[in-house]
Each structure stands twice: as C-alpha cells, then as structure tokens.
C-alpha cells in the first residue's frame, strides 16, 4: 500500500474529531460523523485540529501540487506550481517544526545533489525515529483499540516515508549497501511494508548481484499488508537483471515474458523506459499491476537498465529489454513509437521554422 496524502489528512482529522465526540451516545456520534464529512470537504478550519494536523494538511496539498500536478503541467505553469509547493512546505514547517514530511520534501527541492539529499536523510534518520516514537507514545488512549492503533500508526508514517526516501536516494547515489541497510531497518520496523520499501530493496539486491538475499526478500512477502505475491515489476526486473548478469539469456527472456504477462497490455513501457521524477512525498500511489505501476518500476530501475557501456546510451540491459520486447510484441513497439514521437512529427504539418511562422 502506497501512502495517500489526502487519505491520511482525512484520517488525522477524523481521529481527532472522534475524540471530541460525546461518549456513550452512538446515535449522536453517527450524526456527528456525517457532519464531519461535510465540514472536512468545505470548512475544515472549523474542525478541531492541532498545528501538526494543519501542517500535514499543507503537506498533502503540496504533495498534490508537486507530485501529481507539476509533472503534467505546461512550462509556463511550472514555476507557479514550484513556488506554491515551496510556500506550502515553508508554512507547514512554521506551523509544526517537527513536520518531518515537510522538512524532507523541502530538502529534496533544495538539495544541490543526490549525495547532499542522501546525507541529509541519513543524518536525520535517528532523530526522526525518536520524534515519531514520541508522537506515537503521546497518542491519547480513549479506550478504542482500533483508533489507538491507527493513531499510533499515523504517528510513525513520517519516519517510514523518511526511511523509504533514504533507501531510494541511496540507490540513486550508487550506495547499494546503504540502501539495503535503510530498507532492512524500515522493513524490520514495519513488516507490513506500508512504504513498499521492498521494491527498492529488490533493485539494490540486483545491483549487488545478491541472488540469495533477493530470494530471502521474496519469502518475506508473507507479512505484507495488503497481501501481494512477489511478482511485482520491481521484483520482476530485479530477477531479470540477475539472469542477464549471469548471462543466462534464455532465462532472461523467460523472465521478461513473465513480467509482461503480469502487466498485460503494458509492454510499451518497457520500450519507452520513461524516467520520471521520484515522488517527493512518497512513491506515487498507483493501482497494483497497472500500466502506471510498470512505468514507475521501470523508471526506478533506471539504475539497473542504464548501466554499462552501450552505444545506444540506454544501457546494456535497457537496450536488451527494449529490443527484445519490441521483437516479441510488435504492437507494443508501434504504441511506444507513437508515444515517443516528438509532438511536431505527430502533427501532419511537420516542424515549423523560426519565430515568424
């Protein structure tokens, strides 16, 4: 399950609202909750909330702006969105100096390099854990086990996002052991793997050509909530990379076909291999086995695909995957070509010269 900022925002306020309800009067509580939905949507400032709740709301809006709007915006609008995202995060931090999500997201926008962001996350990890644990321990006990559990869980999520981002950043930096250390630490803290950090781990184990650890990771899918078999695109690409690395090309081809079968109709993503910016809040929330999920996995697997000294510039594995997919699935190639043709080639008029036209 990926993190959904809107949903989490709702959950936070709902929990706090529940605390304010009269005890022992279910009818009044039910009525009040109907009221909550309306007020959350239209008039959230009238709802009881802490500064941390207000800050998280701004984080949720910033996540929407930066992760879901910015990548699809026109160039003219991009600057406005970037500024808006920054302002939202600044305000969140001024409301709640311990808003680790906002702190982390702001850093990812201003860090001058991957390494700088990696160091920032690495150095902050212990403090964030302590702070989140403190928040967890401060969750009020109103006698409702389910609510307490959710409150405690929400308190720890910023730490989980922090560690997942650390693992991802380490992978990008080529620091695979650090990636594994962060990822394993998170997985130990949260065996249900809310952050889906196992996806990042799968790529890191493939980078280190550590098949035994990849197998062990696949076995741990049993504790994932909600349950999911180890046939996601990250695992699929990791296994395929291992087969390619040991030069078992028959096996590599089989694994490619298996991957494509797990994502029917999405093979063109393996040809285009689009590189997307990573979500600054968290990995984008997309449906399992959707084309979007495959696109995300391929993008994150750039570290595996683009490696090696290949003249195409796509990397040795990347060009093998694109070439082989195109050969196996000509319709995917046609789709990929249509998608990747520059806009002026899609237009019948062709390119126009100069400003005068």
């Amino acid at each position: 399950m990926a993190f959904d900022p809107r949903r989490e925002d709702y959950q936070r306020l709902a929990l706090r609202y529940a605390l304010s309800l009269p005890k022992g009067n279910p009818v009044a509580a039910a009525k009040a909750f109907t009221d909550f939905g309306r007020r959350f949507a239209r008039d959230r400032d009238t709802l009881p909330q802490s500064d941390a709740d207000r800050a998280f709301h701004l984080v949720a809006v910033a996540a929407e702006v930066i992760d879901y709007q910015l990548p699809f915006s026109s160039e003219e609008r991009a600057d406005a969105l970037i500024n808006r995202g920054r302002d939202l995060l600044d305000e969140a931090i001024s409301l709640d100096p311990k808003c680790h999500d906002a702190i982390r997201m702001r850093a990812s926008r201003v860090s001058p390099s991957f390494d700088a962001q990696f160091s920032f996350l690495h150095e902050g990890a212990d403090e964030v854990l302590a702070s989140c644990q403190e928040a967890r321990d401060a969750v009020p006990n109103d006698g409702d086990d389910e609510r307490i559990a959710l409150g405690r869980d929400i308190a720890l999520r910023p730490y989980r996002r922090w560690m997942a981002a650390l693992a991802e950043e380490a992978l990008i930096c080529g620091r695979n052991r650090s990636c594994i250390e962060a990822g394993e630490r998170l997985l130990e803290q949260d065996p249900s793997d809310q952050a889906d950090v196992r996806f990042t781990l799968a790529l890191a184990y493939a980078k280190l050509e550590d098949e035994a650890s990849l197998d062990a990771l696949a076995k741990r899918y049993g504790t994932i909530i909600p349950a999911r078999p180890a046939d996601d695109a990250w695992m699929g690409i990791a296994r395929l990379a291992l087969a390619h690395k040991s030069h078992d090309m028959g096996q590599t081809r089989q694994l490619l076909e298996r991957l494509i079968a797990a994502y029917p109709g999405c093979a063109s993503a393996l040809i285009t291999q689009t590189e997307l910016p990573d979500g600054v809040f968290a990995r984008l929330a997309v449906p399992p086995y959707s084309e979007d999920e495959l696109i995300l996995a391929v993008s994150e697997a750039t570290v595996l695909l683009q490696e090696g000294d290949d003249k195409s510039g796509r990397g040795v594995l990347g060009s093998w995957v694109a070439r082989t997919t195109a050969k196996l699935y000509p319709e995917a190639l046609a789709e990929a070509q249509e998608f990747s043709a520059p806009y002026y080639q899609q237009d019948e008029k062709g390119p126009q010269d100069g400003d005068a036209s």
């Binding site: 390494d115 052991r177 030069h247 595996l304 090696g308 990397g315 040795v316």
Partner: protein, 323 residues
C-alpha cells in the same frame, strides 16, 4: 601484447621442439638468432598466421599515429577504415591457420560491438578453443610461461573486461579469478578488472583480500577502485584519503579522472604502459567509466577537493590541454 617478441618466442619454441634437446643457453642463443630475422624462422601456417596478425596490428597503430590532426568526423571515418583493414587482415591470418586464437579475438574486438554481442562472440571463441585444447598451467605453474597458451589468457581477459562493460560484475570477477589462478604472475591484468568489479559490488572483504594478495603493488585500478568502494560505502574520510592515494600515484591522475578522453579498443589486450605514468591513469579511468557513471556525484565530489582540482588543472596547463 608484445607481438614481435611473442613471434620470436613462438618460432624459437617450435624450432627447439624440432631440434629435440636444447639447453637453456642454447635456447637463449636461438632466440637471439630468431630476433635478428624472425621471418626466416616462420616455417609453418601457425607462425605465418601469427606473423600476419602482428604485422596487421603494427600497421593499425602506425596508421593511427596522425589521428590527432583530424576533426571528429574525419577521425571516425579514418578509424572505421583502419578497423576494417585490421579485420580483413585477421581473415587472412585465419585463412593461413584457422586456429589462430589471437586473430579471432582481435577480429571480434575490432568489430566494436556492444557488450552483449561482444560477450556472445567471445564465448563462442572460448567454447571452440576449449574443445581444441585444454588450458594447462604448464611445468612452471603459470600458463603465461608457455607462449602458446597466452592467447587463451588474453581471451579470458577480454571476456572479463566485456563482462565489466556489460554490467556483469560477478561474472567479470569469476573470470578474472580464473585468470589469476591460471597465471599467478597475471601479466594480462585480471586483478585490475577484479578490483573494479569488487568496488562496484561494494565487496570490501573481497577487495581487501585482493589488495593483500598484491602486497603493496599499488596501481591506478586498485587505487581508483578503493576510492570508489569507500565512497559507495559512505566512508567519506577514508575515501578522501584513497583519492589522494590515487592522485599521487600517477602523473596527471587527477586530469585523467576529471577530463576523461577517448581510449581506443584494446587490441587485443591492455597496452603495456610505464607504471606511474599518465597513460596508466587514463586506462584505469577508461575501464572504470561505467562504474563511475553509476555513482552520479562521484566526479563532483572528487573535483570538490581544491588540491585534486588544482592537480588536474596544473597538469592540463603544463601539457597544453584544454581545461
């Protein structure tokens, strides 16, 4: 590969076998005689084929001596022609003796294939060579000492480097280790490929083991590999010291890393260069390039040390290179 010298050794060795018993002194004298006039001793298709290859390699390098004067496009075209000529010469060598492993190797390398295709082609040569004759360590315990098994070592070396270029680091390591086992002297340099593979795999234990085995025989591959390894492991102070070690070992090492230049394909093996010279650093950086590219902020980190940056700039200025 010192082709001329190997041709001499090959001719002398075959002559010795014909003569029957020959003392070591007698053999040394025979070598001198062959060196005077090798062609007089080329008396079999085997040696004729090798001589053709050696001549073709010399011609290839001679023809490229003035490449510096060409612009990019002209250079590309001239190089293409030279590689084709070389490949045709390999055909000729192979028509003289189909078993000339070096000619097959050079021909595959000269085709300038991408790593996947190159590996397939090299493994095919290896499979056929394996069927033809088994590699033995010989009487000295080092396969290098038999001039006729050297092509096999060069083939393995090319396979290991192709694995490294293709992102197959464990495989590169396995082949390099096989190479070092077959030839503990390691003239072809399996340890160099191994050092880079271990750095990429962040295998500190393996790297230290290799380092200990080389017992202080520092070189650019080892020093660069150590720097990358420590950097990847996040041991930044140690990495900084390793970078200093890399920078100080070879002339122009900082320049080689910060301003990498085009390096011709190894035909068929890593050219012999003086230890501690600029070329050593250039070759090490060239071979490490895919690994360096995998650590996106590594170069900026190295460049960020004023002493390293200044060393690169000073070398460029001293030699009239662009900076």
């Amino acid at each position: 590969m010192n082709g001329r010298e190997e041709l001499v050794l090959r001719c002398a060795q075959r002559r010795r076998e014909k003569i029957g018993t020959l003392s070591d002194e007698g053999f040394a004298e025979l070598c001198l005689a062959v060196r005077e006039n090798p062609s007089a001793f080329v008396d079999s298709p085997e040696q004729a084929s090798f001589a053709t290859l050696v001549g073709a390699l010399d011609a290839f390098h001679r023809a490229g001596a003035d490449d510096d004067l060409l612009d990019d496009e002209e250079f590309r075209a001239a190089r293409e022609r030279r590689l084709q000529t070389l490949s045709a010469a390999c055909d000729q060598a192979l028509s003289q003796d189909g078993g000339c492993l070096d000619a097959r190797l050079v021909q595959v390398l000269a085709a300038d294939l991408d790593p996947d295709d190159r590996l397939d082609a090299l493994l095919e040569i290896e499979a056929k060579a394996d069927a033809a004759n088994e590699l033995t360590l010989g009487s000295t315990g080092d396969a290098w000492d038999d001039v006729f098994t050297r092509p096999r070592l060069r083939l393995w070396d090319a396979i290991a480097r192709t694995c490294l270029a293709g992102g197959r680091y464990h495989m590169a390591l396995d082949v390099s280790r096989g190479l070092m086992a077959a030839s503990p002297k390691d003239q072809v340099g399996g340890r160099l490929t191994a050092a880079l593979a271990l750095a990429r795999l962040e295998d500190e234990e393996g790297f230290n083991e290799l380092d200990a085995r080389l017992a202080g025989r520092e070189n650019s591959w080892l020093n660069l590999g150590r720097t990358i390894l420590l950097y990847k492991l996040g041991r930044m102070n140690a990495a900084r010291r390793a970078l200093r070690g890399y920078g100080e070992l070879c002339e122009g090492a900082a320049y080689a890393l910060l301003r990498p230049t085009f390096v011709e394909i190894y035909l068929p093996d890593r050219p012999e260069v003086p230890a501690g010279g600029f070329e050593e650093a250039t070759f090490a950086v060239h071979e490490a390039e895919p690994i360096i590219a995998d650590v996106p902020d590594f170069i900026a980190w190295a460049d960020g040390f004023p002493w390293f940056h200044a060393a690169g700039e000073a070398y460029a200025e001293e030699h009239g290179y662009d900076w």
